[in-house]
């Protein structure tokens, strides 16, 4: 029996056990979309295993800005409440003092443990500014720590072994990656003369995205957070690229926007289009990374959900190989999306700094 077959069998068996555990405790219809959305979303606690009352999770710190800094563990949400909203039961948890409530992982300021709901079934209470160390934040801090250890470790090797000796160990794994960013991303898009200034940003973005993509693919603690598939994360990085682009932009970049080489009569159309173009470039960065990573997670989870929806372990025979296939594909996507984000960032920066000498190409 080959190793691959053995792995597949063990995975199938394990999935079967988990399926049975789940099936034993859940009643009513399995809601695949809720399940999937819950897993790719952020959370105030780090779920390990089990469902409902028997779920095991690691509590994470909750930090709220609500007339000063409020800090407590997510374990503090202990009081379960159920209210009827538009004929549907809505469950929520409040803290012991009844000051804060959590509904669908959003924290609201409660009035003595009670929440008011509007006509659409959303709480109408105030939302304090939530600075909690959520699962995504914790995962991000972990990824930053790993990156620091990896690269500072690799950097030390240069000091220790000297510049001219061939790279070894960790250093020999990292150096080609750094050189890849330098030779394939920075220099072709920004140019030999100016690329050096942007290398720290491009390298950090590339490895930050990549490692978070990879960590998202490992389904066990302390990994598995869908950070790089979170729109807040991709938005922040895309905005960084936008700010750099605007900060380094040369006269020609703005000239191209406000004085495009078209007849004056077309300016009322062209200028707004060009202005939208300024925003749409980083917007595409944000959406591309978010959508690719989230989609990968959704596809894998959906394959898993089939087993639960059919309530039959035999489906694992199809779901697990398919999910495995998608996981391997996602390994490629993880690197590819990090590359594309960095490549396009470099391209946008390069374009903004470009100085046209002739108006021939547009």
């Amino acid at each position: 029996m080959t190793t691959l077959k053995r792995i597949l069998l063990i995975t199938a068996l394990l999935t079967g056990i988990l399926t049975n555990t789940y099936a034993g405790h859940s009643e009513g219809k399995f809601n695949a979309s809720e399940f999937t959305l819950h897993h790719i979303g952020d959370s105030h606690e780090w779920h390990l295993w089990g469902e409902g009352e028997e779920a095991s999770h690691i509590p994470l710190p909750v930090i709220l800005v609500d007339g000063g800094l409020q800090m407590f563990s997510s374990d503090a949400f202990t009081q379960a409440h159920t209210v009827e909203v538009n004929g549907k039961p809505v469950e929520y948890l409040t803290t012991e003092d009844g000051k804060y409530a959590i509904v669908h992982d959003k924290i609201y300021a409660a009035e003595f443990g009670a929440l008011n709901f509007d006509a659409e079934g959303h709480p109408s209470n105030n939302k304090p500014f939530d600075l909690s160390i959520t699962k995504n934040v914790a995962s991000m801090l972990l990824s930053a720590t790993i990156l620091l250890l990896l690269f500072i470790g690799a950097a030390k090797a240069y000091k220790k072994r000297g510049v001219d000796s061939a790279p070894k160990g960790l250093q020999s794994f990292m150096e080609p990656l750094v050189l890849f960013v330098k030779d394939e991303i920075a220099i072709p898009n920004i140019g030999e003369k100016k690329y050096m200034k942007f290398m720290p940003y491009l390298l950090t973005v590339f490895f930050f995205i990549w490692i978070n993509n990879l960590m998202g693919l490992i389904p066990f603690f302390p990994f598995g957070a869908n950070l790089s598939g979170n729109i807040a994360f991709t938005m922040t990085l895309a905005v960084c690229t936008l700010i750099i682009t605007l900060a380094v932009s040369k006269k020609d970049y703005w000239k191209h926007i406000f004085m495009p080489p078209v007849p004056i009569a077309l300016y009322p159309i062209m200028i707004p289009i060009e202005l939208i173009g300024v925003i749409s470039k980083p917007f595409s960065l944000m959406i591309r990374l978010f959508a690719n990573i989230t989609a990968g997670h959704i596809v894998i989870l959906s394959f898993m959900c089939i087993i639960f929806m059919q309530k039959n372990v035999a489906w694992a025979g199809m779901s697990v190989p398919m999910a495995l296939f998608i996981s391997v594909l996602e390994l490629l996507v993880a690197a590819l999306q990090a590359f594309i984000f960095t490549m396009l960032s470099a391209l946008f920066i390069g374009q903004a700094m470009e100085e046209h000498h002739e108006e021939a190409h547009h």
Partner: protein, 165 residues
Amino acid sequence: MNPLVTPDFGLIIWTTLTFFILLFLLGKFAWKPIMGAVKTREDNIEKALSSAKEAEQRMQQLTAQNEQILKEAREERDYILKEARTAKDTIVGDAKNQAKKEATKIMEEAKKSIEVEKQRAITELKNQVAALSIEISEKILGHELADKNKQQALMDTLVEDVNLN
């Protein structure tokens, strides 16, 4: 709005904070030394390559120079040989001419001295002949003048000769 596409402000702030701290720390302690080392190495390699090329060029130059020197030496040798041959020819020719001249001169001198000797011999012979003639004449005359008739006859002959002249 769908929570999937609603950016969470808390996460934005944490991401910004983490990213910038990461950017600063990696930039200072990782990218700077790594990029610096890579750059130094690239420079060193480039330097080594260019010096190798330079050495090769010098080598080529040297080879070319050697060849040139060899060629020049060969040419010089040929020239010297040619010169020597010419010199030999000239010397031999000159010697021949000189010898010929010398020989002619010696011959001429010999001829001259022979001529002189010959003249002297002739003169001596003439003198001897003259002396002999005079002696004979004296003898004859002595004999003739002893007789008066004969003396007359001779006188007549001599006068006749003078008349004839």
